[in-house]
């Protein structure tokens, strides 16, 4: 999905390919294809507009946050001046990307501009799940449980997923982490659940 060669292949793939008939009559299929390409959202969703929208999205919280910051004057600079200037640069670029994508030359219509496929999404989701589990479990259940669950959930991220070997790997990882961080480095982590004092 992130391969450049693949990316160009996707870009150049016609969205709807009508067969060109050898004939002088008006081909309904060709007309339909042209109409479809005109109507399709390619002018709105391509890599450039996609980048622009994404950048706007990243800037959005800062736009909201800037509202309550006084900008001040050059003599008395307010807390909002530098962020405001910097945000203006980012928004200018976002605007440029959007305009270039919508009206610029040589932009091929492409709906699937976001080059993430299902495998990529699976990776993102499962790793997020693992990290979230770590975040949720560590304070109450301790490092050992958290590391085990995180390792287990993360294993699903990349095929092939084999449950038994994932459990074995998680066990190994947990033991390694416990030895390195609790026994050797003695970082102050809660290693085991709170109500299991008998384990020590």
């Amino acid at each position: 999905m992130f391969d450049d060669a693949m990316r160009s292949e996707i870009t150049e793939r016609p969205k709807f390919q009508a067969r060109a008939y050898a004939g002088t009559y008006i081909d309904v299929a060709v007309v339909a294809e042209r109409l479809w390409n005109r109507l399709s959202w390619g002018w709105l969703f391509n890599t450039h507009t996609g980048s622009g929208f994404l950048l706007l999205l990243v800037c959005a919280p800062f736009i909201l946050g800037l509202e309550r910051l006084p900008i001040g004057t050059l003599q008395r600079i307010g807390p909002g001046m530098v962020p405001g200037l910097v945000l203006a640069v980012a928004l200018l670029i976002a605007g440029g990307l959007l305009i270039w994508g919508m009206f610029g030359p040589g932009i091929k219509p492409r709906l699937d501009a976001l080059d993430l496929d299902w495998q990529g999404l699976r990776g993102i989701l499962m790793i997020s799940g693992g990290v979230l589990a770590f975040m949720a479990l560590l304070p109450s259940l301790g490092l050992v449980m958290a590391a085990f669950v995180t390792s287990l959930i993360s294993s699903i991220a990349r095929p092939p997923f084999r449950p038994l070997s994932a459990v074995a790997l998680a066990t190994f990882n947990t033991a390694a982490v416990w030895i390195v961080f609790v026994v050797l480095l003695d970082l102050h982590f809660r290693a085991f659940p709170r109500n299991m004092p008998w384990i020590f």
Partner: protein, 508 residues
């Protein structure tokens, strides 16, 4: 003479058993992480930063520097054997290194890489030894206006000297600056962009940001990475011996590569990736047998490999003497120093001269250890490459989580790093680079501080910014860089070309 005395003192300090162990540990860990596909030196340094909290500052820096160039070498190993760059700066090495490996000369390629790295680092250390103290003395006269100009130049240079789109990098610098400004404003005590979240009042932690942008997002992206095929199953020591022809062919390329790298490394924002690309391009232009490039030309390895190591080290010059990081990695190093309460800047070399010279000495020692370790141990690294990625990445994720959590013992940080990581994955898939974010994050607050001071000193007059030659020079250079970027952009639009990555233009 000062320099010799300092250097001698540095070697004495670095040759303590403890520091030698740290160099060894750093280089080994770095190579290991560099060999792991999908995780680069940035993530490696970010992961090890929390551990260095408990070390003396000099040892911490020695360890991190070891990790840094260890990872660079490890990245070259995967480039040559798997055709997958372990680190961005070793991407160029794929072009000729992998063809060499396919024709059964993997050992020679690996050996030349190690030698080129050593040559590049040695020369760069030499520059560092002389340039950093001199630059420090020069910078001593800098006022806020000069600092503002240099930082602005650094920020713009970061985005224009890049292998991606200039506009996108500039946008990422801006986002980085905004992220850096989150938290309590020191002048007005107003909380900025915190949205009432108490954990954000102190700002985002550097490690949390680096782990999110580089660690988590790199791992997520690596989930769709193809698993590479090893070019050769076994690399013996004997196969590493280069022929006389190889050595002769790579002599001058190493010199040229080192020169290119040493120069580009000192520029704020350029960094080693660009250095390796430029060195390769130079070599291709100079060569009389251009058609050999991309098919296993040894010059195609020796030049970029010496360039990236040289740049890696000369990047320390602006970092240590001005406190302005030249690359994202340097930004992290700077963060490590600041955590220990040491602010690099013009006074660093004079006030912390022991540490400076220890660091320099440890660079030499590290470079030699790298060669001593990697040539005999190459079989071990090749064996690590055979472990399926499937079995490695869950452990990396657990380590990333622990690393982020241990910074402040806060689950909030883990969630924040995850959020930043997910955003970074989407940004990266749209061609935004992450290194400028980190540089903006570090330089942003500095930029604001010096901007305010300049305004105060100049009593609100804009002329203050061009009151000295140095600041005028850097401001003019900034404007020039921006103009050049605009012209290049307009030209590429007129030619009807969409953006293409640097590596493709090198291939053709």
């Amino acid at each position: 003479m000062d320099i010799l005395i300092g250097l001698a003192g540095g070697f004495e300090a670095a040759f303590t058993l403890q520091n030698l162990l740290y160099v060894l540990l750093g280089v080994t860990l770095g190579t290991f992480i560099g060999v792991l596909p999908g995780i680069g030196s940035m993530a490696a340094i970010a992961m090890l930063l929390p551990i260095t909290f408990y070390m003396p500052p000099a040892s911490a820096l020695i360890l991190l520097a070891g990790v840094y160039y260890g990872a660079e070498y490890g990245g070259s190993i995967t480039s040559i054997l798997l055709n997958i760059p372990g680190t961005p700066s070793s991407a160029v090495t794929c072009l000729d290194g992998h063809p060499m490996a396919l024709s059964g000369r993997a050992g020679v390629a690996l050996f030349i890489t190690a030698v080129a790295s050593l040559v590049g680092s040695s020369v760069a250390i030499f520059f560092l030894t002389f340039a950093a103290p001199a630059l420090g003395r020069l910078v001593l006269n800098f006022g806020p206006a000069e600092y503002f100009a240099v930082i602005l130049f650094g920020l713009v240079a970061t985005s224009t000297i890049t292998n991606g789109s200039t506009a996108k990098s500039l946008a990422m610098v801006a986002v980085g600056v905004l992220l850096g400004l989150i938290g309590m404003d020191q002048n007005s005590a107003v909380a900025r962009f915190t949205f009432g979240i108490p954990e954000l009042f102190d700002g985002i932690d550097l490690i949390v940001l680096a782990m999110g942008l580089f660690g988590i997002s790199e791992i997520m992206r690596s989930m769709v990475m193809r698993s590479g095929h090893l070019a050769t199953a076994k690399v013996s020591l004997k196969s590493m011996i280069p022929t006389r022809e190889d050595l002769r062919a790579s002599g001058f390329p190493m010199v040229r590569g080192t020169a290119v790298g040493s120069f580009l490394g000192t520029l704020p924002g350029a960094g080693q990736t660009i250095a390796s690309f430029v060195a390769y391009a130079v070599e291709k232009r100079v060569s009389r047998t251009r058609e050999r490039f991309g098919k296993g030309a040894i010059e195609g390895i020796s030049a970029p490999e010496s360039a990236n190591n040289a740049a890696a080290l000369t990047a320390f010059i602006p970092t240590l003497s001005m406190g302005i990081p030249g690359s994202a990695t340097m930004a992290l190093m700077l963060g490590a120093l600041m955590i220990h309460g040491i602010t690099p800047g013009p006074n660093f070399v004079t006030q912390n001269s022991d540490m400076f010279w220890t660091l320099i000495a440890s660079f030499w020692i590290g470079s030699f250890l790298l060669i001593l370790l990697n040539i005999p141990l190459i079989g071990l690294w090749v064996r690590i490459l055979k472990i399926p990625y499937q079995m490695l990445f869950p452990m990396i994720i657990v380590l990333l989580c622990i690393g982020v959590y241990s910074v402040n013992n806060s689950p909030f940080d883990v969630g924040l790093a995850l959020m930043l990581g997910v955003i970074a994955v989407f940004l990266r898939s749209y061609g935004f680079e992450m290194a400028p974010v980190l540089i903006g994050f570090i330089l942003g607050p500095m930029l604001e501080r010096y901007f305010r001071r300049s305004i105060q000193l100049g009593r609100g007059e804009a002329e203050y910014f061009v009151s000295s030659g140095i600041s005028m020079f850097f401001l003019a250079a900034t404007v020039l860089l921006l103009l050049m970027a605009v012209v290049a952009g307009v030209r590429s639009v007129l030619r009807g070309r969409t953006e293409s990555s640097a590596i493709h233009s090198l291939r053709s």
